[in-house]
């Protein structure tokens, strides 16, 4: 009996000692600071809407720090890698997080570039931006995005939307589909080039820095780009009209995180990261929408005629552009049909909710 009591007492002491030893460990884990390097290619300066959240001291760094109680610390390194190399850099652990402009990588990761398919989201940028955001926030699409990125060693975090590069800045008015015939249009990217060809125009590749002089010299007749960006590079000075097209209805960057680094976070911090991402993408989306609406006023005041194809021609253009979706399906691989179905489903769901 005495022996049993002694053994019991010893056991209790052992448990107590082990428990006391574990307390500092648990305490340390709770207080562990996770430091991450965030890479982004800051080539636009403050006029890049995501720079407001990405810049050192900006919303992303601050929100992660505050929401995690000081346990997530970001080291933000602008221009650490060129935009086209950030994805590889994060995947291989040279950086922990990064901003990846997907259209730049459309040749390598076409699956993640469904946004360039005409007709999925509205060609009206205000509606299109909201629809696209709804797609990226759809759980099915998020899962597919994450699955695709996990294969590369990444996890999907959030998106930052630009205004879509879906307008034709031209020297003559483009009011009908016939007006596209023979028009020399500067266009970038595989899918928009396929689309502009399908609409009867001649695609031309020219460096982005030479667009306004090339229009002036007659090397090209038009440029496919966004309203705000086109204005900022001087296209309003060499153009007469800006026409919305169904091509390239989104222009989006995906913010990714190294999968191992994300998985190593405790669940509460993983939730903080996800929640902050969701809030940031909404903030950027609203900012881009507001900026687009202001750009419309600015362009109108500059004397540029903003036009749109008639409803009948819009339908014809969309029909002609079906080839873009087919091309994308060829490039996107096995996951393409599933992704396309999920994306279209998310837009439908959003439209049924908003009644638009």
């Amino acid at each position: 009996m005495k022996q049993r009591t002694l053994m019991g007492a010893l056991g209790l002491v052992l448990i107590l000692v082990l428990g006391l030893a574990a307390v500092p460990e648990l305490f340390a884990q709770e207080k562990k600071v996770y430091e991450f390097t965030f890479a982004w290619n800051d080539i636009w300066g403050p006029k890049f809407r995501a720079s407001q959240i990405y810049r050192p001291g900006g919303e992303m760094q601050r929100m992660l720090w505050e929401r995690s109680g000081g346990r997530i610390k970001l080291n933000i390194v602008p221009r650490m890698f060129p935009g086209t190399e950030i994805l590889q850099a994060v995947a291989t652990g040279k950086a922990d997080m990064g901003d990846v402009p997907m259209p730049y990588l459309s040749g390598t990761y076409p699956l993640l570039n469904w946004g360039e398919i005409p007709g999925i989201v509205s060609e009206d940028p205000v509606k299109g931006l909201a629809e696209e955001l709804a797609v990226y926030q759809d759980p099915k699409v998020q899962k597919l995005n994450d699955t695709a990125l996990r294969k590369l060693g990444l996890t999907y975090w959030f998106i930052t939307q630009w205004d879509p590069a879906n307008g034709i800045w031209s020297k003559k008015e483009v009011n009908t589909l016939d007006d596209f015939k023979g028009l020399k249009v500067r266009v970038g990217g595989y899918l928009p080039t396929a689309g502009i060809k399908a609409m009867g125009a001649s695609p031309v590749t020219i460096a982005g820095s030479e667009l306004a002089p090339a229009m002036m010299a007659g090397t090209i007749d038009a440029v496919l780009t966004s309203l705000g960006y086109g204005y900022s590079i001087g296209l309003a000075k060499v153009s007469k009209a800006f026409t919305l097209t169904p091509l390239s209805p989104t222009w989006t960057a995906v913010t990714v995180m190294n999968a191992k680094k994300f998985d190593a976070l405790p669940p509460d911090l993983q939730k903080v990261v996800r929640d902050v991402g969701r809030e940031l993408e909404q903030a950027v989306s609203l900012s881009t929408t507001a900026e687009y609406i202001m750009s419309v006023d600015t362009v109108d005041l500059s004397g540029i005629k903003r036009t749109q194809l008639s409803e009948a021609d819009q339908k014809k253009a969309l029909e002609a552009c079906k080839v873009v979706e087919q091309e994308w399906l060829k490039l996107a691989g096995d996951q393409g049909p599933e992704m396309l179905k999920a994306v279209k489903g998310a837009v439908e769901k959003y439209r049924s909710f908003t009644g638009k």
């Binding site: 995947a91 291989t92 040749g107 390598t108 396929a194 001649s202 031309v204 590749t205």
Partner: protein, 191 residues
């Protein structure tokens, strides 16, 4: 006035004709053959091809209204190739920018030693270039990187010119370093 070392300088090599040195001289000739024909002649020919490509692009754009859309992208790759692969030939022909304001005022022996130091530094830089280029190309292969343009070019292939250029430059520098060491040794032995 420049100190002239290596090929094209007309300087006779010290005649320490052991078997190993003969082998090394043979290797040097191979390196210089590559520097001359691949880095020099081939890249000079590429300028002509680039010119033709731009001409075809202009003709198809202005006259046929159906541009090929090749020159912008491939022209970019060719310019990088010409610059990088052309480094070794330019080095061999002493065409790189060379600041001799101070160096020319130094005594010959000190000038040769300083030359050795700068050659070694250049060699270190070129080895770093080889490593960085190798890393870039291997990542492009690993991720299957392609250009986002209409051509969807697999990027690893044009990027290989970075490795080729930096390896050739490193090899040419190695030749110059060994030759300079021989000259220094010969000069030291003659005293």
């Amino acid at each position: 006035m420049h100190l002239q070392f290596g090929v094209g300088s007309g300087q006779a090599l010290p005649t320490l004709s052991t078997g190993g040195q003969a082998q090394m001289d043979k290797l040097f000739r191979v390196v210089e053959w590559f520097s001359h024909y691949v880095s020099g002649v081939l890249m000079a020919g590429s300028i002509f091809i680039l010119m033709l490509m731009v001409l075809v692009e202009v003709v198809t754009r202005y006259i046929m209204n159906q541009p090929l859309s090749l020159a912008d992208e491939y022209g970019g790759y060719m310019l990088v190739a010409m610059t990088m692969v052309g480094l070794a030939y330019t080095w061999k022909e002493k065409g790189h920018i060379y600041v001799d304001l101070v160096v020319n005022r130094l005594p010959d022996s000190l000038r040769m030693k300083l030359r050795l130091v700068t050659l070694i530094l250049a060699m270190i830089l070129s080895v770093l270039l080889v490593v960085a280029s190798w890393e870039l190309v291997s990542q492009s292969f690993l991720f299957g990187a392609r250009s986002g343009s209409w051509l969807r070019t697999p990027l690893a292939w044009p990027q290989m010119t970075l490795i080729l250029g930096s390896v050739m430059l490193a090899a040419q520098l190695f030749v110059d370093i060994v030759r300079l060491v021989r000259s220094l040794t010969a000069a030291g032995g003659g005293r």
